[in-house]
């Protein structure tokens, strides 16, 4: 009984804190302002990442930056009020799917990273990046 009461108090306390956080509007959804910022974030995260071809989603939520050597692609995705980064190498992409309005959905072999959609300016750019990402589906091993 005592345990149940403690648990109920905890759940009540957590709910009150989360609701306060929500109603205070403390969350500020993040976005990637431009490709320069995306490159700076990559360089900061992976010291010395040599940025090559790059693209920023129309909604500024996702960016893709290829390493000059072509060995990997940096994927940046806005999450909450921050940005989460993944380095895509052969074997790390599970699937890509072209959608309407030049959208491309990327699913990784990484259960800690939800699928993200990138909105391209046109279909040809979407196809070019889909090809690059599809090359990251097969493992070299």
């Amino acid at each position: 009984m005592e345990i149940a009461i403690k648990l109920l108090i905890s759940i009540f306390g957590v709910s009150a804190m989360v609701l306060t956080c929500h109603f205070f509007k403390l969350s500020r959804p993040s976005s990637i302002s431009d490709l320069d910022e995306a490159k700076r974030l990559l360089d900061q995260d992976s010291v010395g990442f040599q940025s090559g071809a790059s693209v920023l989603s129309r909604d500024r939520a996702v960016a893709l930056i290829e390493q000059v050597s072509g060995d990997s692609i940096g994927l940046l995705a806005a999450m909450g009020d921050g940005v989460v980064i993944r380095y895509l190498t052969p074997g790390s992409v599970k699937a890509t799917r072209m959608g309407e309005n030049s959208d491309l959905t990327i699913q990784l072999r990484d259960f800690t990273f939800r699928p993200v959609s990138i909105k391209f300016d046109d279909n040809s750019a979407a196809r070019t990046w889909a090809d690059k990402l599809n090359r990251m589906q097969e493992s070299q091993a």
């Binding site: 306060t20 956080c21 909450g80 993944r86 990273f113």
Partner: protein, 317 residues
């Protein structure tokens, strides 16, 4: 050794719940006023859910742990009573043990798989303090953290209480709303500034400031780093999580270890995936904290040559 009546059934954590709760509301209020701090609703929910889960886990495992601790106590070398000086000594020694346990939690992947939960938020606020693992007993660290002091002669109940006070102390340092404390306090004690460094993923801040209560342990054992004005901490882990799902937060590193071991080509590689520092890989495609720092220092060295600038990351004061 009989346990004094005044501590029978005493749980400092339960008494500290109002302090935890009120402090979180106060920090949110300060952040709302735009002064300092940063919150994100889903992140806070995840942290608090981890805290509740940790309590449930404690309820499930405390009985088993206490059986172990009393078994060890039966074989103690000497018997220490409940005098005031034994309490003080227990508090200090517990913190010393905590330092080493915490250091191992960052440098041995087996222990990191558990502790990573606490570091997995990209925010640094009081809810982050409550983001605690659910599966700690499986690391078996209780076999020696605490047990060493118990076999020395400290009573398990005394250690449970000083351990709780150690944890309560560490709550308030998880905040950006407090900049620096008085100089004498910063020199002796763990503070928000020192602990922000510990949660930073900046190469300069990786694997620094392991202290629980007394920062002197880091100064003694060469792991201290002062928070720098020109190096604002970036919180989280090297490979930040792209989800707020508490189940994934609690288990992701365990699954990563299993996956790595499954793919290991030799027994040695499998053992290293478990016992080497996080980031170790046989082919060097991943990087440990030391390797990241070394790469960062190398790059900044070239910046100095070109611009004559002062070396960032020079040894801390």
């Amino acid at each position: 050794m009989n346990v004094p009546e005044f501590i029978q059934g005493f749980d400092p954590i339960v008494w500290a719940i109002p302090y935890f709760t009120i402090s979180v509301f106060m920090e949110m209020w300060i952040t709302k006023r735009g002064q300092r701090g940063r919150f994100e609703t889903r992140d806070s929910f995840a942290s608090l859910a981890m805290g509740v889960g940790n309590n449930v886990s404690s309820l499930v495992f405390t009985g088993i742990l206490m059986v172990w601790y009393f078994f060890v106590y039966e074989h103690r070398l000497v018997t220490l009573d409940f005098s005031w000086w034994v309490w003080v000594l227990a508090f200090i020694l517990y913190d010393f043990m905590y330092y080493w346990s915490h250091r191992l939690a960052h440098t041995v992947r087996w222990f990191w798989a558990d502790h990573v939960v606490h570091h997995s938020s990209q925010h640094y606020n009081l809810t982050t303090a409550l983001r605690q693992p659910w599966l700690s007993p499986f690391t078996l660290k209780f076999m020696w953290l605490g047990s060493i002091l118990i076999i020395t002669g400290f009573h398990p109940v005394m250690l449970a209480i000083v351990g709780s006070f150690n944890l309560i102390y560490q709550f308030w340092i998880h905040t950006e709303t407090i900049d620096k404390c008085p100089a004498w306090f910063e020199k002796l004690m763990n503070t928000p500034s020192h602990h922000r460094v510990h949660h930073g993923t900046n190469p300069l801040y990786l694997d620094r400031n392991y202290a629980g209560v007394f920062i002197v342990w880091d100064k003694m054992f060469g792991t201290f780093q002062l928070e720098r004005d020109d190096e604002k901490p970036r919180y989280g882990i090297i490979k930040n999580l792209g989800t707020h799902n508490p189940l994934i937060i609690a288990t992701h590193e365990w699954f990563a270890i299993i996956d790595d071991i499954r793919k290991a080509k030799t027994l040695r590689d499998a053992a290293m995936y478990l016992l080497a520092p996080p980031g170790w890989s046989p082919d060097g495609t991943r990087m440990t904290s030391k390797q990241i720092l070394s790469r960062w220092r190398e790059r900044n060295k070239s910046t100095i040559n070109e611009e004559g600038a002062e070396l960032p990351g020079s040894p801390a004061e």
